[in-house]
């Protein structure tokens, strides 16, 4: 299972998304607002989820702005942090 797929499954399960399955999430679709439709409170949960599953911390708004654009950007962020 590649990282993108793993992320999608975790997001659907841990954020209790009911009206979408992991394979319906597009890699480059926005996570927030239009796209997957997550909102600001989901962002709080997502920060914790990423830390719990990948041991990667999203510390502030600047990092969140980069990481939370799409599944692709989130996967890149996690990979980058794991290497550093």
């Amino acid at each position: 299972m590649n990282l993108n797929e793993e992320l999608k499954k975790i997001i659907v399960k841990d954020l209790f998304l009911e009206d979408i399955t992991w394979d319906q999430i597009e890699d480059d679709a926005p996570l927030f607002g239009e796209g997957l439709g997550l909102d600001s409170l989901d962002a709080v949960e997502l920060v914790v989820i990423i830390q719990k599953h990948f041991n990667v911390e999203i510390k502030d708004m600047d990092e969140g702005r980069v990481a939370f654009q799409s599944i692709n950007s989130l996967a890149s962020f996690i990979k980058e942090r794991r290497q550093s």
């Binding site: 954020l15 209790f16 998304l17 927030f32 909102d39 600001s40 409170l41 989901d42 962002a43 709080v44 949960e45 920060v47 914790v48 999203i58 510390k59 502030d60 708004m61 969140g64 702005r65 939370f68």
Partner: protein, 303 residues
């Protein structure tokens, strides 16, 4: 439903910048006594000749005092406007003449010490009652950084007390209109064990993150974001309600400590029991201090 439609309230001031400056001058000349004296007439003018002021007071007063009409209602409207004016003057007095001009008492220090020692931060869930700024000055003993979730609009000419003398901001401001509603900054503050202050009685963002809860006899909308953040971070929620005790004194009531379990899910229903606790505390407060609740918009509006 757009953000603007969901958010019925405004932080814009009723008076102009010039009118506010007159009060600042009065405070410098004659302290709170002179400013209060003038306020009695100014508040009367606004209540008698500004229908919009009576309308804005009426949303709350018609729920708090449902049987009141005519002169009785007008009197309540005057009392409410007067109390708001006093709170604004007190804030300016602290800013212009010094923090020592106003005393703020707080009896539950040990509870806060214990909570802060847990290391998960604390969410102070407050409301638009009394003067939260003066009240926060009673919490300096904690020596923990404070983060205040606050949004200011153009046209809000009220100065925070520290702005009168260009003092350093005593707390960090998180704008809920910022990126992802400022939630990442909020989480980050709690992770560092800091204090996060939020208002639980005004809507931000969309209606999805609100709960309909009975308040003063009718269902009103309340945001549950504080409870969600508490559930995610493990931080305790402390309901803090400041109240004016006299011309130069404030009290700070620790009304509830609410523990929200982790992993409650995504929808508001899971957070209902915890938000209900907050609303009950707020309702109790309005019973005891009916003219210190300063939400001048229709909280009960149905969308």
């Amino acid at each position: 439903m757009t953000k603007k439609e969901a958010r019925q309230w405004t932080s814009r001031s009723i008076g102009s910048a010039f009118q506010h400056k007159i009060f600042y001058v009065l405070i410098r000349i004659g302290g709170w006594r002179l400013a209060y004296l003038v306020l009695y007439f100014v508040a009367l003018y606004y209540v008698l000749f500004r229908p919009s002021v009576r309308k804005r007071c009426g949303y709350y007063l018609s729920h708090r005092f449902p049987g009141q009409v005519g002169l009785q209602r007008l009197k309540s409207c005057y009392q409410l406007s007067l109390e708001l004016g006093k709170v604004l003057i007190d804030r300016a007095v602290v800013g212009i003449l010094g923090v020592d001009r106003m005393s703020a008492s707080f009896d539950d220090k040990k509870i806060l010490y214990d909570l802060i020692s847990e290391g998960k931060g604390i969410i102070f869930l407050m409301a638009h009652v009394g003067s939260w700024q003066v009240a926060l000055s009673a919490l300096h003993f904690l020596k923990t950084p404070v983060n205040m979730v606050i949004h200011r609009e153009e046209g809000d000419v009220d100065r925070h007390y520290f702005e009168h003398r260009s003092l350093e901001w005593p707390y960090r401001i998180i704008d809920p209109e910022g990126f992802l509603g400022g939630t990442l900054e909020m989480t980050d503050a709690l992770k560092k064990g800091e204090i996060l202050c939020m208002m639980g009685d005004r809507l931000f963002g969309n209606l999805k993150n609100t709960l309909s809860i009975r308040f003063l006899g009718e269902d009103a909308l309340f945001p549950f974001s504080a409870m969600k953040i508490a559930s995610t971070s493990g931080a305790p929620v402390v309901v803090l309600l400041p109240f004016k005790t006299g011309p130069t004194g404030y009290g700070l009531r620790l009304a509830r400590v609410i523990r929200v379990p982790e992993g409650l899910g995504r929808t508001g229903d899971h957070f209902l029991p915890y938000m209900e606790e907050y609303v009950r505390a707020l309702e109790d407060f309005t019973m005891e201090y009916p003219f210190q609740f300063f939400n001048f918009y229709d909280m009960w509006k149905r969308f």
